[in-house]
């Protein structure tokens, strides 16, 4: 126990110090980049060290914050799994960005921001007191804001990053409100204290406030708008933040809250309803996108929807498992998409990416591992986690037919859009003699390919071999989940068949369709779905209206304060001054002067006499 505490605290503080490099790094500096890489490697090592030590919950007090709150760290099985995921993906992404940002003069700054993000995300994962969790929670949204807007010359990044931080801040406001409610209900924000009070369930209003925060962070409908927009960020950012870790922070919060939310509450039904809708809408939208990163982004939103549903039907362990496998294969897919677009002058349109891996069979293989994992082909990552979530929902809540159908249709749609990506990328490029498309040297692609291959390896083992560490040690903690899986697996062939059928059908049809004919004219409803029913434009409109009202109020205010009030005061003063002037002039007339003087003398005499008398 002692060694666990010391390792955890030491590496947390090292991370704290390492993230200070964000303040320092400015130009290309190999020493800083090297130390960042070494720190990440150390992080992976400590994650490996810590991984077997999650048999019991550990908590470490750091220091007193304010009021009744003490900042403290904790470590349990959830933290262990997430730490492992974060460490591995983060290291791979760092190595990748070493190549990806090679030509950018602010590469060191970029890498230290990634380091800062990793540290803040780890704080979210291992925070016991929720003040500390909130510091990390906000730290990741700030680093996301800064990383989305990293390329400052582009106007799209400005819009995307502002949208990201404002929507996240709406979630934060709700979370602050929920924290206030938790304090007033449990008198503490210490997770170990309030999560154990299972006889004292969370208030409905608190749960819904948390829901807003969770949906804003995890990009669920209707607060999802920032995530597709943030695809203007560099590919490593999308891989680490917007696929593997940041968007799952909401799911982590929900897993934590699971114990104190009643199992038959309206909260769970609302989560299921909204997430089902999210899965359907976002999967359709993903199928219709033409930008490869947007396809993967919409797919991420849908997959996070699966996790939310898993938590809300009571399978927190399955949600964690899906988070784990999804983190690996989605990060890998983003990295591959980044590599592909680098080869085409940072063009992310799928049509431009045709045949990008035609001479690169390793990358082709990696792409297919990622796509199979996403689609849930048996033997690959997504199959192990996603199909179990579907089965769990099928057997656990048979009365909710809409939930089951949306999960099944969502799985089929996933297979369809993954097949579409594969089909388009495999199509040979029209003019394959264009060798100048390969602008980057082999030297820097080496780092990128290394990272992709490492992540592919992780994707391959995360599914089948992750079962034991992620689900295995949950046996004593949540027996209902594992028991249920064992039951469900014997009937699981229905779902399996469904998925396989769609993959085979869709993959071949899409492949043939893409080769033979151009894009067919799309019906109007498809356009609506593709643009999320113009949700994005609506938000822009609200923003513009807010700005208009603010400008009008500002002009009005300055007119009142700088014109009207001074005028009022000036006229008032002038008026009084004129009165005084007038009476003085009156007094200066000879006969009146005597009268005034006499009056004054009498008045002062009265004052004097009364004063001395009293």
């Amino acid at each position: 126990m002692m060694s666990l505490a010391s390792v955890l605290t030491t590496s947390w503080i090292v991370g704290l110090l390492a993230s200070v490099t964000t303040l320092r790094a400015q130009k290309h500096s190999t020493s800083i980049e090297g130390s960042i890489l070494i720190l990440h490697f150390g992080f992976v090592m400590s994650a490996l060290l810590l991984f077997p030590m999650q048999s019991s919950d550990t908590s470490i007090m750091l220091w007193h914050w304010a009021g009744p709150h003490h900042l403290s760290l904790m470590y349990n099985h959830v933290s262990a799994v997430l730490t492992m995921l974060l460490a591995v993906v983060s290291l791979c992404v760092q190595i990748y960005s070493f190549g990806y940002m090679d030509l950018d003069r602010r590469r060191t700054s970029f890498m230290s921001l990634l380091m800062f993000f990793t540290f803040m995300m780890w704080t979210v994962i291992i925070a016991q007191n929720w003040i500390l969790l909130f510091i990390g929670w906000e730290g990741i949204s700030v680093s996301s804001f800064l990383l989305i807007g990293f390329i400052r010359e582009d106007l799209r990044t400005e819009k995307a990053s502002l949208k990201a931080i404002v929507i996240n801040r709406i979630g934060d406001a709700a979370l602050i409100y929920a924290f206030c409610a938790i304090i007033s209900q449990y008198m503490t924000l210490d997770y170990f204290v309030f999560s154990q009070q299972t006889q004292n369930m969370l208030w409905q209003s608190t749960a819904f406030a948390c829901l807003v925060a969770i949906f804003a962070k995890s990009a669920q409908w209707p607060l999802h708008v920032w995530l597709p927009n943030s695809m203007v960020a560099p590919a490593p950012v999308s891989a680490l933040l917007h696929a593997a870790t940041l968007v799952t922070a909401g799911v982590i919060l929900m897993i934590r809250l699971d114990l104190i939310i009643p199992s038959d509450s309206m909260f769970r039904t609302v989560v299921q309803a909204l997430s089902s809708w999210t899965i359907l809408l976002m999967s359709c939208s993903a199928y219709l996108q033409s930008d490869i990163k947007k396809v993967i982004a919409y797919s991420t939103i849908a997959q996070v929807g699966y996790m939310c549903i898993a938590v809300s039907v009571g399978a927190t362990d399955l949600a964690l498992y899906h988070l784990w496998t999804h983190g690996f294969f989605k990060a890998q897919l983003f990295l591959i998409a980044g590599l592909a677009s680098v080869r085409r002058h940072h063009d992310q349109e799928m049509d431009a990416l045709k045949g990008v891996f035609s001479k690169n069979w390793v990358m082709k293989l990696c792409l297919f591992v990622g796509l199979f994992a996403l689609a849930g082909v048996p033997g690959f990552g997504g199959f192990y986690s996603k199909e179990r979530i579907i089965e769990f929902a099928l057997y656990h809540s048979p009365e909710k037919w809409w939930l089951q159908w949306s999960l099944l249709i969502g799985a089929a749609l996933t297979a369809m859009y993954s097949a579409r990506i594969g089909a388009i990328l495999l199509t040979p490029y029209p003019q394959h003699s264009d060798e100048h498309h390969v602008e980057h040297s082999v030297h820097e692609e080496r780092y990128m390919q290394l990272a992709i291959i490492a992540l592919t390896f992780c994707t391959l083992i995360a599914g089948p071999f992750g079962e034991l560490p992620v689900l295995g040690f949950l046996n004593d903690q949540a027996p209902r989940g594992v028991e249920f899986i064992k039951q469900a697996l014997s009937h699981g062939w229905v779902v399996l068949f469904c998925s396989i059928f769609f993959i085979i059908y869709r993959f071949f049809s899409a492949f043939i369709e893409r080769i033979t004919c151009a894009i067919e004219p799309q019906p109007r409803i498809w356009q609506y779905v593709r643009a999320d029913f113009y949700f994005d434009a609506m938000l822009d409109f609200i923003g513009r209206q807010y700005q208009k009202i603010a400008s009008w109020l500002a002009v009005y205010e300055s007119r009142v304060l700088e014109k009207k009030v001074p005028n009022l005061i000036n006229h008032g003063c002038e008026h009084i001054g004129e009165q005084i002037d007038f009476s003085i002039k009156q007094a200066q007339q000879p006969d009146r002067g005597v009268r005034y003087m006499a009056f004054g003398v009498v008045l002062s005499a009265i004052f004097l006499i009364s004063g001395s008398w009293l």
């Binding site: 914050w65 009202i549 500002a554």
Partner: protein
């Protein structure tokens, strides 16, 4: 050790040195040695004072230290970028330091009132250093607002002193609404609060602040935001609190809450519509001070014994002192380079001078009260106490979190993103200099330390009534 000897010597020294500088202001005198020597003496005297006297409550030492810090920063800025009227500015700085220390150190109502009134003078002169037509009207407004408030204060104070035996900062009892004339006592209580609400400032009485900030030189803005506003808060939280009967405070509480909420939300929206950088930050100061009013209202309504809430309010004061000093310093650094305060002129600063942009990022986030920076502590504590009193009003106040970030992004986004504006490109301005780093980095560290370990100062804060 005689306490008042020290305090008087600090005040006297500053006034003397200020007069000396003012007298020589027409001559090209070397003011730097004088000013820095005075500040050195101040620092030594203050630390001796705090060392020799065990304050039972840390509010006064904290505010004095903040005062010293803000004055040092203003002086540092003047030393870096001396204006044509640098000597007058330094004289104003020393005067204002003396007056505000006098306010904090006051032992009775008379000395408090005198120093409180005197603190108008240096700031008014400071704004006039700008020598423009607008600066005269800004000074006029500043003096009028504060003077009217002070007259009402004097009236009510005389009434309180004549009707009951109120002693300074020792718990009041004047103006009991259960007494024969409830309306009268409420009126007098309002009069007592008036100058502090003007100085704070709060929504209907804030008219002077944006004007004063736009017209004051950078050093003046730093002192105005960091200290003069704190004088208002100090008066509200200590002096007014000790004069007025608790029953009256409970009666006034809901009114303060409503004013605070309006101020919090409305001023944030108005701030988002500004185009002048300094004005926008001035409005954001008003938003920060609304949290104080909300916290004070809750403190009154929940029985005057909530230590945590009191600590949160003090933290909000100190944190605003640091954050606004940082922001106004950054504005000053931009102003000396480009001589404009229009936000649109600084478009593309992020690509042009990335290190300054980095400081802007930090102070913007601190101003938006992100967790991990000092601003969050006060806001969170005040909000959680507000929730305990009324969850529905807390739901209203929490909107302030969102309007707060929008208001801050309003100046941040145009400055950071996009290609550099023509004005920036032609200016050949340089990025952050060594001495600018020296000024900004301690503020950054202070804000972070107060955010993650606020207990280091809150530990020493006690409830009012036990002020030393």
């Amino acid at each position: 050790m005689n306490l008042s000897l020290f305090e008087n010597s600090i005040i006297g020294l500053n006034i003397l040195m200020g007069l000396l500088l003012w007298k020589h202001s027409c001559v090209k005198a070397h003011w730097q040695p004088t000013a820095f020597f005075t500040m050195l003496l101040n620092t030594i005297a203050l630390s001796l004072l705090f060392y020799s006297h065990q304050y039972s409550n840390a509010l006064i030492p904290l505010l004095s230290a903040l005062n010293l810090l803000a004055s040092l920063y203003a002086l540092g800025f003047l030393a870096l970028y001396p204006s044509a009227y640098a000597i007058q500015e330094v004289a104003c700085l020393l005067f204002s330091f003396a007056c505000t220390q006098g306010v904090f150190f006051a032992h009775n109502f008379l000395s408090f009132y005198i120093f409180f009134e005197l603190s108008i003078l240096p700031l008014g002169l400071w704004i006039l250093c700008n020598h423009s037509l607008q600066s005269r009207s800004a000074t006029r407004q500043f003096v009028l607002y504060t003077a009217i408030g002070s007259m009402l204060f004097l009236l009510a104070l005389l009434q309180a002193l004549s009707s009951s035996s109120v002693s300074f900062l020792q718990g009041g009892g004047a103006f009991n609404p259960l007494a024969p004339h409830p309306i009268t006592s409420l009126f007098y209580a309002g009069c007592i609060f008036m100058p502090f609400l003007v100085k704070l400032p709060i929504w209907p009485l804030h008219g002077w602040l944006p004007l004063a900030h736009t017209q004051a030189p950078t050093a003046g803005s730093i002192v105005l935001a960091s200290i003069i506003l704190k004088v208002g808060a100090f008066g509200l939280m200590s002096v007014a609190h000790s004069v007025i009967h608790h029953e009256t405070l409970i009666a006034i509480g809901p009114g303060f809450l409503i004013i605070g909420l309006i101020s919090l939300l409305l001023m944030a929206i108005v701030a988002a519509g500004q185009t002048d950088l300094k004005k926008l930050i001035a409005y954001s100061s008003i938003v920060h001070m609304s949290w104080i009013i909300i916290g004070y209202a809750i403190f009154c309504l929940t029985g005057f014994n909530d230590l945590v809430l009191w600590q949160g309010m003090v933290n909000q004061l100190i944190s605003h002192g640091l954050t606004s000093a940082g922001l106004f310093l950054c504005v000053g650094f931009l102003y000396v380079r480009l001589h404009t305060r229009e936000i649109s002129e600084y478009r593309g600063l992020g690509t042009h001078s990335p290190i300054l942009a980095r400081y802007w990022t930090f102070f913007m986030l601190a101003n938006a009260a992100l967790p991990g920076t000092s601003g969050f502590v006060g806001e969170f504590i005040i909000l959680s106490k507000l929730y305990l009193w009324s969850p529905s009003i807390a739901a209203l106040a929490v909107i302030g979190v969102v309007t707060g970030i929008v208001m801050n992004l309003r100046y941040y986004a145009p400055m950071i993103y996009g290609a550099a504006s023509p004005a920036l490109q032609q200016s050949h301005m340089h990025d952050c200099q060594f001495y600018e780093h020296c000024l900004l980095i301690p503020l950054v560290l202070g804000i972070i330390v107060l955010g993650v370990y606020p207990d280091c100062i809150l530990h020493f804060i006690k409830l009012p009534g036990v002020l030393a």
